[in-house]
Subunit: 237 residues, 2 copies
């Protein structure tokens, strides 16, 4: 059985979580390198040597692969989380890339000006960007996946693919970050909610979520809970 | 010879341009559907039917594929613009996904708050975001590609891949949008500049750039020239 090495920041779920979920769901053997003895130094060394732009990245034997969606493109068929045929694989990847775009928009709700500044240094802009995100962008993404799930259990049919696991993660993260916003929105997207629950109940995922390997959501992550950005319904504007 | 149908907004280069450049470089047969008689209506109909999140998307026979990088993943080996072996194909795709992230950041320089608002409605935030982009993010991306080009003519070695064409496009677009910023920066990245020139001189690309098929850059596009965002060196801060 292949031993995968995942390199990602040790204190957040972040983009690494999309890869962790795939590995955990499949029961794959892997090391989350930067959470071990080598720490982030081992990660930085390999990034430099292999000219990787940013974490997460995956090593498998001599192959070193960057970009979350690219890692999943590689792992998908190997973990039984993507069809073997090209058309099916490309469709799953398309869905994953849409989730990747969505992740950037979630991040930018609290960092609309610069990722190098603190949230506190860009709060007014963050408030405006989040209002637009909750009113316009989030419904657009949720609607897209709701429509995709019409008449099928998973995003591409009867079996789960890595994009299903990622969609679970989006719902979990959004509920953490925007409990008020999501409470208002999610009843309009029952298939997305059902998909979240279905993925959470998969044996590998359920085991993982109950373990210490699942890092709790926190305010260094992509999904952050800032009450100023997520007002209760009445005062939302 | 396969006839490809590309669907994208007819009045901008945008993300569609990364696909157009690949098709043009390879001399592929294709129709830029929304620029023809069907207009954007044909595009919207197909998007709806195939549950595509956003343009551009490509149709080839019965296959309909969304997400720019995904379209290039499919076209790459078919157009001779990606290696056939898996490791090579994944490396090209990784570079393309980094360019995709970069494109979002370019767009958000003028639209940091909401893509549904006008630039004029988010000018102060745009100024701050652009200052950070030019000082921090743009050098980070340029440095990454400069390093990748060390000791080789193209991003993955001796032959061009679709990510090389996309890197050309980034330089061209950034020079349009930030003539002052790029004049200051680009001398530090001679390999990236040389790659731009090398791609521009490729027969298929040169023919395309001189044709009416190349839509001029404009202020509805991703790369926009707003003098308030791109000050001459002395007053830049």
């Amino acid at each position: 059985m292949t031993m995968y090495r995942l390199y990602y920041w040790p204190e957040i779920q972040g983009r690494g979580e999309f890869v962790r979920l795939a590995l955990e769901d499949a029961g794959a053997r892997y090391v989350d390198v930067a959470r071990g003895r080598g720490g982030v130094d081992a990660m930085f060394r390999l990034m430099e040597r292999h000219k990787v732009f940013a974490p997460p990245f995956l090593a498998s034997g001599r192959l070193v692969l960057g970009q979350t969606a690219n890692v999943l493109l590689y792992l998908g068929p190997r973990l039984g989380l993507a069809p073997k045929a090209e058309a099916g694989r490309l469709r799953v990847h398309e869905l994953q890339l849409t989730i990747a775009d969505w992740v950037v928009e979630v991040h930018d709700t609290h960092h609309p000006i610069a990722s190098g500044l603190y949230y506190e240094q860009q709060r007014p802009a963050a408030r405006r960007r989040t209002a637009d995100f909750l009113a316009e962008r989030l419904p657009k993404y949720l609607y897209h996946f709701e429509k995709t799930l019409k008449k099928q259990k998973y995003l591409t049919g009867r079996t789960a693919c890595y994009a299903d696991l990622s969609l679970f993660q989006m719902v979990a993260g959004l509920r953490y970050a925007f409990p008020n916003g999501m409470a208002r929105l999610q009843r309009k997207y029952p298939r997305v909610v059902a998909l979240h629950d279905r993925v959470a109940a998969r044996p590998g995922v359920a085991r993982y979520l109950a373990s210490e390997r699942r890092i709790p959501f926190n305010e260094m992550d992509i999904w952050r809970r800032y009450p100023a950005l997520d007002r209760p319904a009445q005062v939302a504007k």
